[in-house]
């Protein structure tokens, strides 16, 4: 393809190709400081290409292609190239990754131990992880947690955080402007702005963490806290995994290992500051 970029995020290498220069330039800016794919060999190829030949020039629109693709995916406007690249990378991970158990979850680390958060879209896992990542924790990832199939450790996947709507304003008050991408207005997912994690998260992207606590946050409810048993955590995490079924026995072992070795909690919260307090209290009492 005419324009391309090699990008390493945690243990995964991407090659992103584009028919237009814009998306690649935007990616270079957003991912400044990230390494190239290891050995120059990418695990996955993502293609941003016109869905019809004339769509390169006339009302350009981006079809997301690559090693793995969904036939029914709708094309995006050229101005939303960063979102197209993000969705293309997500798709490769969700449909193609086999080296790790993939959880649709966010995670942060402190003192080598990790907090995993998962929940339905809008539950706040991404926003909470981004906030904690600005307040002394190391962001492991806002979208995917990679569980090691042999050792059970969590591998970071610190791609740029994808902030939506109200979360944008919240994080603009926490992080310096140079770490933000452009504001993408009126995307299919609403208003979006990407945030590059702190430099520490990028420099230490090859350094796994040991899981310590699993949370199922839920935004917009009165403050509440409920311990979750291993069986329930297991079932909820199978629903949060894109490759649990295709990994077969290896996936089962990794997931049972994760839920039996770590406590899990469901937390409801009315506002983000309340949630951060809850998380810090739970974390402080972990070993008590």
């Amino acid at each position: 393809m005419r324009h391309g970029l090699s990008l390493g995020v945690g243990p995964v290498g991407f090659r992103i190709g584009s028919a237009w220069p814009g998306p690649i330039a935007a990616l270079r800016g957003l991912y400044a400081g990230y390494p190239e794919a290891e050995d120059g060999i990418a695990d996955f190829t993502v293609r941003l290409e016109p869905n019809r030949p004339w769509r390169r020039w006339i009302r350009p629109s981006i079809a997301i292609g690559g090693d793995h693709r969904l036939p029914e995916a709708a094309p995006l406007a050229l101005a939303h190239g960063l979102l197209a690249a993000e969705m293309g990378m997500n798709l490769q991970m969700a449909l193609g990754l086999r080296r790790y158990l993939l959880l649709h979850a966010s995670a942060v680390e402190r003192d080598g131990r990790a907090l995993v958060m998962t929940g339905a879209s809008g539950a706040g896992k991404s926003t909470l992880a981004a906030l904690l990542g600005e307040r002394g924790w190391r962001l492991l990832g806002d979208e995917f947690v990679l569980v090691d199939l042999a050792g059970g450790g969590l591998h970071p996947f610190p791609r740029a955080v994808s902030l939506k709507n109200a979360a944008i304003t919240l994080l603009e008050a926490e992080a310096p402007p140079e770490r933000f991408g452009p504001v993408l207005e009126e995307t299919p997912k609403g208003r979006i702005r990407h945030l590059r994690p702190r430099a520490e998260a990028i420099h230490r992207m090859a350094e796994p963490a040991v899981p310590a606590l699993i949370l199922f946050p839920r935004y917009g409810y009165d403050k509440a806290l409920r311990p979750v048993g291993a069986a329930e955590a297991f079932v909820r995490l199978t629903q949060a995994s894109t490759n649990y079924v295709s990994l077969g026995e290896a996936g089962f072992r990794a997931l049972t290992g994760l839920v039996t070795a770590n406590p899990a909690c469901a937390i409801d919260y009315p506002d983000t500051d309340g949630a951060i307090d809850l998380v810090e209290t739970l974390w402080a009492n972990l070993d008590a």
Binding site: R2, H3, G17, D39, I41, G66, D67, S246, G248, A250
Partner: protein
């Protein structure tokens, strides 16, 4: 980031499949393109097994190891699906012949090593179809297509039932009664396919070696637009190399191809696999090279190092050809008209 040299992704892929010893000498920067082409051609698992143990860059080794794991899981799932069909049909006491990928792995053939396997394909006798259909519907399979025209089209003009999908396992089964659509010009001897089939230990059957090769050739060249053709041609290479040691194999292959009216597709398949995978083939059966062979090679290798289909006009020509092979002109016109009106 242009293409590396003039060798397309698919051409490099075919070269490595035929001669894995070249892999350690491959430029590091070419690997991403080879892997993307292999994935797009559904040959990544096959490539991974061909290159196992060779000294390659660490990251290439890691990706190929994942592909071997993926193929092992696909094999297990395919065999389980065959077992589910066996149980559903056991009460009927009719011959059930496994086809394509599932047959290769069930029989432990080298064509099955690392192979991607999607749907379960089985062949039954035409007069057993109603009973087989009823038994599958009773065991949890349901129709994928609800459309009356499509349903009628399949039942009247195709060599298989409309596809069925299993309610809980989400896997498709294609139930064939012969190996080409009845509207196609060659008419394979469907009864002979079942009569010569070979039982496996569990009671399911596979085609005899010669019919297996002929089916693969028919699938590649007498039905369809050659999409995924590199994989189907690889099946033919592996099957031939495995079977040709049997005394009298080539003579029997010729006899069976004649019976199934598929001598010409078989001959072309032999020439193509010799050309792309250096398969040792019987020169008399393959016949002299034809000018059109080069077009087929061009179509088979129409894939670049980004995994994109290239050579749009060639692909379109083969797409049109696939419909021409399948239907007489008046029928094709009617079919396209109905499809067009439905949008």
């Amino acid at each position: 980031m242009g293409e590396s040299g003039r060798v397309s992704g698919a051409a490099l892929l075919a070269r490595l499949l035929a001669d894995p010893a070249q892999a350690p000498g491959i430029d590091r920067r070419a690997w991403t393109g080879i892997l993307a082409a292999a994935r797009a051609e559904q040959l990544i698992g096959t490539l991974a097994w061909r290159l196992e143990g060779l000294p390659l860059p660490d990251r290439a080794c890691a990706i190929l190891r994942d592909a071997r794991d993926g193929a092992a899981q696909a094999r297990q799932a395919a065999l389980w699906e065959a077992e589910m069909a066996r149980r559903a049909l056991a009460g009927l006491a009719v011959p059930v012949v496994l086809l394509k990928g599932t047959a290769f792995v069930a029989a432990g053939l080298s064509a099955g090593v690392g192979r991607a396997i999607g749907d379960l394909d089985i062949l039954v006798r035409r007069h057993d179809l109603p009973a087989v259909e009823a038994a599958l519907l009773g065991a949890g399979w349901e129709w994928v297509k609800e459309d009356d025209y499509d349903d009628l089209y399949y039942r009247r003009w195709m060599h298989e039932l409309p596809p069925l999908i299993h309610r809980t396992r989400d896997r498709m089964i294609d139930v064939h009664h012969t190996i080409l659509p009845p509207t196609a010009r060659p008419t394979p001897d469907a009864a002979a396919l079942v009569d010569a089939s070979i039982p496996l230990e569990n009671g399911l059957r596979i085609l005899c070696p010669e019919d297996m090769v002929i089916h693969a050739a028919a699938h590649l060249l007498a039905d369809g637009d050659l999409a995924g053709g590199l994989r189907n041609l690889w099946d033919i290479d592996r099957l031939l190399r495995e079977f040709m040691a049997e005394p009298g194999f080539w003579a029997r292959l010729e006899e069976r191809a004649g019976r199934h009216q598929l001598r010409a597709p078989l001959a072309r398949a032999l020439r193509l696999t010799e050309r792309l995978y250096a398969t040792p083939v019987d020169a008399d059966l393959a016949g002299p090279a034809r000018p059109a062979d080069a077009l087929y090679v061009r179509r088979l290798l129409a894939r670049d190092g980004w995994g994109r289909g290239t050579r749009r006009a060639t692909r379109l020509a083969f797409y049109v050809r696939s419909h021409w092979l399948r239907m007489p002109p008046a029928m094709l016109a009617r079919h396209l008209w109905i499809k067009l009106r439905k949008g």
